[in-house]
């Protein structure tokens, strides 16, 4: 087991290196250099020259890549081009917002997805099964940026139940400790702020959870059906165990193994979907930050933000693989 984990961690290094190469060279091999991208076509030659020098763009590419790597190893992600903020500082401020949103969305997806999946599997070919699987298919096919706007229209504009965007209402005081607003409100025992933060979280989280919920529901159903066909379930039923016990004590455990992997893989969907969701709801997370950077052509943020997200994603996937090997004794590790 330890050897397996070690090998997986060793594979991580070339993967991350490859990611950094792609991100670096994609920017530098595209037509027009970053200085031109930044200053526009009508910039003076002198301004271009100065900016190139400032950004180190006048050095050969491999030297630039070397410097880029050197900074990465020392965890120096540089400064943003427009606001001259440290990229790390920005990430530290924004990343908790994204995690708060993604984790809430993931919790919604697991709960709803598994409930619908289990009921559908136990009542296969029933009306509930057909409807929920059709719903799941619609969920997988949903343009979430549109769904978010529809939610906004219904729950904010028409019904006025939920705040239309942002993380906190103007005028609500919250002492920021960790940047996880829910956590901060709990730590500082700030009831009104907690209520307000939760209120703001509902719509974006449900929007973001749409696709993962659908995927988890479909996966749970098919995995559950697979297990329910097996002999040991028949035995359990023949012994006279209650339906509830058969499903929750005997079937669910084995059925959940592939579901756990699926859930782990949803982090990528969530981090990607966060760009769309955060943009719609003006949620000040990493996704919105990336979007703004793309709009303002802040290539430092694009480059290093992408690297950060991709690196995180690789590490999460590694964690999922290891977890999978741990919970599934049938997997043989050579």
């Amino acid at each position: 087991m330890a050897a397996y984990i070690l090998r997986r961690i060793l594979i991580l290094i070339p993967t991350l290196l490859g990611v950094s190469i792609i991100i670096f060279f994609m920017l530098h091999l595209t037509p027009g250099d970053p200085a031109e991208l930044l200053l526009g076509e009508r910039a003076s030659d002198e301004a271009l020259k100065n900016l190139r020098e400032h950004l180190g763009l006048n050095k050969p590419l491999y030297v630039q890549y070397g410097l880029f790597l050197k900074r990465l190893v020392t965890l120096d992600l540089g400064e943003t081009i427009w606001t001259r903020q440290k990229v790390w500082v920005e990430i530290r401020q924004r990343f908790p917002a994204t995690i708060e949103l993604s984790v809430t969305a993931l919790m919604i997806s697991c709960t709803l997805g598994m409930i619908f999946g289990i009921i559908s599997a136990t009542k296969q070919y029933s009306a509930f099964d057909y409807l929920s699987m059709l719903g799941a298919l619609a969920g997988v096919s949903m343009p979430i940026f549109w769904l978010g706007l529809v939610f906004m229209l219904i729950f904010s504009v028409n019904l006025g139940w939920l705040p239309i965007s942002g993380r906190l209402s103007v005028g609500v005081d919250l002492e920021v400790v960790t940047n996880f607003y829910i956590l901060d409100a709990v730590i500082t025992k700030n009831g009104p702020a907690l209520r307000d933060a939760l209120w703001h979280l509902i719509m974006p989280a449900f929007t973001l959870s749409t696709i993962p919920t659908a995927i988890v529901a479909r996966m749970t159903r098919s995995s559950m059906l697979e297990v329910l066909r097996q002999d040991y379930i028949k035995t359990a039923k023949a012994k006279g165990l209650s339906q509830f016990k058969v499903i929750f004590k005997h079937a669910l455990r084995n059925a959940l193994i592939p579901v756990v992997t699926t859930i782990g893989l949803q982090f990528g969907v969530l981090l990607g979907g966060a760009i769309l969701t955060e943009t719609i709801f003006a949620w000040p997370g990493v996704g919105k930050w990336m979007y703004d950077a793309v709009m303002q052509r802040d290539y430092m943020v694009i480059q290093n933000g992408t690297l950060f997200i991709a690196g995180l994603f690789v590490i999460i996937n590694l964690g999922v693989d290891v977890l999978y090997a741990l919970i599934n004794p049938r997997i043989s590790i050579k």
Binding site: P143, V150, I275, V314, N317
Partner: protein, 293 residues
């Protein structure tokens, strides 16, 4: 004439008849055909020019609501353009984007995957590592970055989607080729002196078509979705191109005044994507028995 045995039927006929019995798959196919027809015959079907600005007809609601008229059945946007016409023309744009990007990914993925699976060894290791690297970018982020660097346009969006879709095709083809290349008929082909390329493309690949067709159909669904998302973010189709995602982005500012402007393009995306997903699921049941549940 010799009597026909059931075994003489081509297996594809069985698969087709099974697909035909799957009502949801047929429904998906019907939806797709409707969208394809809309795309092909857009000039004949749409009541107005999709980019013609009509300032006297700004923000007309749909025909069935108060103030609407049959002139613009689904209403008009803030520039007075007919929404129905823009949706019909949008089918053309979305399907074309999906066709090009999935087509590119299919070709490159198949070539990479079959070579990797056929020659195995070192080459395979390196190629698969590269695939893993592309897969270590979260969904859509890579596409966003590619377009951000290349500049926002529909062509670049297609290219970006194609790049992000190569791995899924490469993996499927590789797995199939690995499995098939152990079989006797490949050895037979080799024994009679067929060249590697011939073995791969003439002997092996036709036997891997099942999972590939399924993946292609499902990729059409996600390509439409991703292209719309990129256009929504301003990275795909540029105005005044009638594109569903871009139209939704424009409608954001109108959410308080004219909700119909954003409603219909979204429904169009949902419908088209759902159609391909329904068909893809049905095809999977028919062509890939291993995945049947």
């Amino acid at each position: 004439m010799a009597q026909k045995h059931p075994e003489d039927r081509h297996p594809m006929l069985d698969q087709l008849s099974q697909l035909w019995r799957n009502r949801t798959a047929v429904a998906g196919l019907v939806v797709i055909i409707v969208f394809i027809l809309c795309g092909i015959f857009a000039p004949a079907l749409s009541p107005h020019d999709p980019i013609d600005v009509a300032l006297y007809d700004q923000l007309k609601p749909p025909a069935w609501s108060e103030g609407g008229s049959t002139k613009n059945i689904l209403g008009t946007d803030d520039l007075g353009r007919d929404i129905l016409s823009r949706i019909i023309y949008g089918a053309r744009v979305s399907l074309l984007v999906a066709l090009v990007s999935v087509g590119l990914a299919f070709c490159f993925g198949t070539i990479i995957g079959s070579i990797s699976g056929y020659y195995k060894g070192r080459l395979d290791d390196i190629v698969m590592r590269g695939i893993d690297i592309i897969l270590s970018f979260p969904y859509i982020l890579l596409a966003i970055v590619v377009v951000a660097y290349l500049g926002p346009s529909l062509q670049n969006a297609m290219l970006a989607i194609a790049i992000t879709y190569v791995p899924r095709f490469a993996r499927i083809v590789r797995a199939s080729v690995l499995e098939e290349s152990e079989k006797d008929y490949v050895m037979a082909a080799r024994a009679i002196g067929a060249r590697d390329l011939r073995i791969i493309f003439v002997a092996i690949l036709p036997n891997c078509m099942g999972p590939l067709i399924v993946q292609t159909t499902l990729s059409f669904a996600s390509a439409i979705l991703d292209a719309a998302a990129l256009s929504f973010l301003g990275l795909g189709a540029q105005p005044p191109t009638p594109e569903w995602g871009a139209d939704i982005a424009r409608s954001r500012a109108l959410i308080l005044r004219a909700s119909w402007v954003m409603t219909f393009p979204g429904l169009a995306i949902l419908g088209a994507v759902l159609g391909f997903n329904l068909l893809g699921d049905g095809l999977r049941d028919a062509l890939d028995p291993r995945l049947r549940d």
